[in-house]
Every structure is written in C-alpha cells, then in structure tokens.
Amino acid sequence: MTDAKPVLRLENIVKTFPGVRALDGVSFSVMPGEVHALMGENGAGKSTLMKVLGGIHQPDGGTIFMGDDAVVMSGPLEAKAKGIVFIHQELSLAEELSVAENIYLGELPTKSLGRVDWTRLADQTNAILQKLNVGFDANTRVGDLSIANQQMVEIARALTVDAKAVIFDEPTASLTDSEKVVLFDVIADLQATNVGIIYISHRMEEIFKITDRITVLRDGQYQGTVETADSTEESVTQMMIGRTLDLSRNASHHALGEVALEVRGLSCSKHYQDVSFEVRRGEVVGFYGLVGAGRTEIAETLFGLRDPSAGQILLDGEEVRINSPADAIARGISLVPEDRKGQGLVLGMNCRDNMTLPQIDTLKAGPFVAQGAEMEIFDKYHKQLDIRTPGWKQQVGNLSGGNQQKIVIGKWLSMHPKVLIVDEPTRGIDVGSKSEIHKLLRALAAQGYAVMVISSEMPEVLHVSDRIVAMYSGRVMRTFTSEDVTEDNLIQAISGMTSEQVA
C-alpha cells in the first residue's frame, strides 16, 4: 500500500460560507483498497467536504486529484462519471419501483421507440446482485425490502459505475448487528477490488473494526490522520473534541425515592412478552438490546401508542390503563422519541412554540395564546438545559442535533412528568453534545425524575444507568445493577446466551 498512488487526494481545500469558514485547508488522501474513516463532531466540516467532493459545492481554494490529474467536480453527475459514488445515510430510493429500475434509475437501457430493454436490465442487475450475494432479485419491489437490503440496492447502484472511490455516510445508522456483518463483508469485497473507501461514522467500535486510517476534522480544520492500529478510542475522541471525554460508570450517589412506575407481566402480541421492571424516582434505568428486541415498543405502550395484550402498568402503586398519548401525558409519562425530527419536533416552528406545544391548550388568555406564559417556560428551560440558540424565534430545524434534543426534553420537563422515557437520547448527536445530554439525564434523575433510557450504544447505557434491563427478542433476560454489570455479561444477555432469567 505504501508505494501505491492514492485514488483520491484532496489538497488544502477551503470553503467559505457567509460568516463561516466551513473548511480551512483540509487535506487527505485515500489509497486503493483502503477504508479511510472521516471523523469529527457534527459541524466539523465532514458534510461540507463530501459536498465538495460530490460537486454540490465548489471549493474556494485547493485542489482535488484523482490519480495524477487535478479534477474539477462541476456537479453530481460529473462526480459520478469520474467514479465517485455516495451511499447516503438517508436512502434515496423509489419504493414502488423494482430493484433493477432503482439501480439503473436515470439510465435505463433502451430499445427502439424509447422502450425499456427489460431483459438486459434484469440480466445486468442480477449479475451485480450475485456479486453482492443478496437474497433478492432484480424484480423485487424495493418497498418490500428491509432497510438493510435497501442499502444493498444503493451499494449495487455504486457498482454499476466504474467506482474509484465509494463514500459511506453513517451506513449502519439503521442496521441490526447481523445486517452490519453483511455490510462489512461487502465493504471488504469492495476493498479487495482496489476501490478507495471513505467511511463516515460516529460509532467508534465500527471505526476500529474496519478502517485502516482515520482522518479527524474539527471546526473545519484538519486535525491529522492516524493509523487505526496505533490509536485508541480515547486518543481519537481527544482529537475530535480537543479534550478527553468522561465515559466512566455513573451510579447514583443520591438516595432513591419511591417506585414511580412498575410494569408487571406486560405483553404486546408479537413485540414483547411478559416484561416486568420498576423505575424509582431519582433513578435512571437503561434498556439495552438489539434493534427489534422490543424496547421501543414498550416505550410506545407506556405512552399509549400501543395497546398491551396482557399485564399491568402501575403508576405510584396504582394500576392504570393508558389509552392514548394524551392519557399518558395527563398521568405524567413523557416520551422523547427515537426519531427526533420525525416524531419529536415541528421543524418549521420556532424553539419556543415547540417547547410549549403539548400545553398550548392550557396557556390561554381568553381565546388567545398567552405569549407571556410561553416566554416564561422557554426562558426557564433555555437556561436550565443550556440550549444554544440565537433566540426563541429560531426555527428548530436550524439547530444542531444536540440542541434539538434539548428542546424536546425541555418540552416534556415543562409538563412536570413523573416518568421521562428517552429513546436513543444521542442518536446522530456529536460527541461533545452527547456528554452534555448524558449529564443532563443524570441531573434529571438527581432532581427526582424517574428516567428510562433506551439505547443501542453500550457505553452510553453503562455510563448513564443505575440499573440496566437487558432484552433479547421481546423478553427481559436479566436486570443488572451498576455493580454486577460487565460488558461481557451484558453482551451475553442481549444475544440470548444467558440462561439466567430474572423476572
């Protein structure tokens, strides 16, 4: 690898937007057959750099080399023609069309009269699918595929062109562990064909598992490139945020209060069975398991979005039936959902209005909304949660992920809930803001809230929880306290390898 020429080399790329120097002299190179991680907090310049590479933005300075030639990417089509292919985080597929049509979208093979050459299309597609070793064929409707397979369609699309460099942008965000394995195999196959791969991800485990080198950006500036083998999570994190991150265990030092929420033998047809646990005031209970283990469905049941098929829910020792989210809110249960942008926020509305949304009915002065009361609520949580926004009028769509999450949390705190359920609190949030959210969750518990945290990231669960409920395939496998949990026994529990079942 040392003698080979890079397939792609960026030199001193500068890009300025009004008021911001988004990229300030960034250089890095990708060797053939290399998986090169690009890391940095949100806003560090990764997306801008990729947009420059993809021809969506033109750089104000610097040069892109492919092989020995300096190239100019005038637009997405030109980047594609030069062999630069993007696998986007948000899949961009037409669900009603077949796999083949999606792969060759925009360049369907034709016969006379502008007719589509279906035979050739199917043959070409199946040849590519065979290489990827997937379990579907060219004529499958894309909408019928799982997310992981849809991603394979995107990758197959990359293989139709003579790809020189393939860029994966957070490809594992919605994959299960077994699906990740398949993806990593495909990446390894690509590697073997001497394609250069740029891999963007926040997930350290993956980075250390599959990448050869890591380049780190911070505030638009190049922080350096390191060999993955010579680095540790701590050293990379430090490069990203310029300081060390505290990921130690964090059991409560304050006294726990009464049981706020108790669940006994709760089941919901296919999703989970016979689930029992309790959450005390002042306690953070983590729910850890694979995607599909039933954790989110439990949260949805507690929030009145699903009807349980059996079992009891007790709030403050009293059995309750929760028929709707309105019901749940009235009883003091709040849910910070997994999909912040889709389920938690009205992106086009400003910060203040998002925060007061669930109680706008009660904030009335005659027929009008009481603006003063709204401002009070906003000011209180703006300060308490340290939300960084230019002002209440800012549309939440323009805030960073971490600050958006704080708005959602603030929204529910203003309702004074007993139980706060947080589903994937830091998904898509950069490292710096992550630790702030973690601190915030701990602080809320200290103030006496009963907090349930659902997370797919082990360090996060270990870091914030007093107790951890490990789930596998719809069942509670074991409940750990912060004393008896180790990474090993936690992993065993969530992969169904343990025989100890704690009811």
Partner: protein, 333 residues
Amino acid sequence: MKPGTVSTALKSGAIWGFIILELIFFSVAGEFLSLSDKAFMDWDNMLLLLKQSAPIGIIAMGMTIVMVNGNIDLSVGATFAIAAIVLLDSMTWPIFAGLGDWVIPVAWLLALVVGTLLGALNGLIVWKTGVDAFIVTLGAMLGYRGIVFMFNGEQPTSHLNWTLVDFAEAEFLGLATASWFLLAATFVIWFVMAKTVHGRNAYAIGDNREAAVNAGIRVGPHMMINFAIIGFLAALSAVVFYSESGSVNPNDGQLYELWVITAVVLGGTKITGGAGNVIGTFGGVIAIQLLRKGLGHIGADTSTVNLVIGLILVAVLVLDRQLNMKGKEELKV
C-alpha cells in the same frame, strides 16, 4: 405467500370485481324497477356505454400519467371547452373556405395543437416556477374558462359539418368512432407508461423525486411532456365528441376534471404519485359510467347519482387504506 399478496391481488382486481357487482345489481334491480322492458346487460347497451365513456375516459388516460408523475391537472375541463371551440369555429373561418372537406383535418389539427400547447404551458409553469401543480392548474382552470366566455359570451358556438358527423357516427367492427379513440388512447398511454423510459422515469419522479434528481433524471422536462400529453388528450376528447354534436356551450366540460380524477383514483392510482396504471383507470372509467347509466336505468335522478358516486369514492379509499395497513400493524394515530 408473502404478506400483502392478498391485499395486492384484491387491490389490483378490486375495480373489476366492483364492475361485475354493478352489472349484477343493475340487472337484477332493473327487472323490478326499470320502466323499460329492455335488459340492462343488453349488448347494444354495453357498446353505447363504452362510447359514452369516451370523453371522460380519453382524458383519464392523460390524468393517470400526470398523477403517477406526482402532479395533477385541474384545467382539463376548460381545455376541453377551448379545443371544442377551436374545432367548430375554425371550420367557418374564411381562409379555410376553399378547402372543402379538407377543412376537417385542419380543424382537428388546430384543436389538438391548441390543447397540447395549453397543457405544455401548465407544465412549463410547474417546471420553471416550482409552484405546486394543483395551484397552477387551478389558476389555469379559471383562466382557460375565462377565455371560453370571452370568445362568445354565454352563446353556444355551433357548426355542423355532415361529413364530420358521418365520420363520428360511423362504426367499425361494431365499435363507434369514439370507442376506438378511447381504446387507442388507452393502448398508447399504456405503452408509454409501461414500456418506455419516459414512462418509467415518470413513476420514479412521482415515487421519490429526490431519488430521481440524484439519479440525474431531468424532472422538469418529463413533467412538461406529461402535461402536454394530458392537454392533447383533453383536446382529442373534445374533437371526438364535438365532431358529432356540432355545438359547444361555454359551460361544457365543467366538473370533467373531478370525474376524471375520480375514475383515476377508483382505478388504483395513488394520489401522491408513483403507482397506478391505465388498465385500472380504464376500469374506473367504466365503473363510473356503469353507475351513472345503471342508476338512470332504475329511475334515479342525477343528484342521486352524484351522491352515490361520492360515497363510493370515499368507501373505496377507506377500503384501500385498510388493505394497505394489513400486516403492517400500524401505530395508533
């Protein structure tokens, strides 16, 4: 069997099942309620039904491709009226006086060109301004209708050319001229949508516009072509119909857009785009015409017909939603 297979089969076959149901119902009910002693399912009656379906049906084929593309065209009724006026009025223009019956193809061509241009104009505005097609064609609906009234006030525009009437009333292989045009329009649009790259790109754009753009498909020109197609078909519908009747009122074609959209939606085209086909639309057109005719047959008046069709449209969409949700276990709303 994969989940959703049953519902898919039900959905694609639903419109034909519905047609059979209508046929049975009106045949039986007609025995007791009809004033005429002719059976409802008489062959001549069915042929007449096909002919009467033509005006709405021809436009519905264009609406299918426009809706699959993710747009809608509310101006078809007004375009229909303008094309009719161009057809009938141009045959009386002094410059064409020397042409004899050759004025007929000239008048047809003029009307079709005008329709196509009006459609393309809608498409161009949608493309270049990015304004929603609903709004653009709502404006066009009012504007084009305004032009109709400016032309001749409240007066009808009439011209009878007997050669043309003979052509329009002719039958070939047992089918009326209008029926042939309906079948031809159905076939051509089916071919375009199912077989050509333009058609498949139209599906892709309607399904996921961003994906189409990312794939390098030029969305605008495709949309404009589809608007031109529906304009052409609205004009064709007018040309076929008024060749026979010879007189157009300024209100003619009003509410056609709604009938057309009803037929297309009944036929299974997704209102948000990306899915649908003209065979389903053809079924939708026949189903509506059967309902109008059948209710007439058993003695119901027009207002009843509208009420019933409205109810059925909503019922169909509710049913469709139920079928779509099966096997997905949706969250409560």
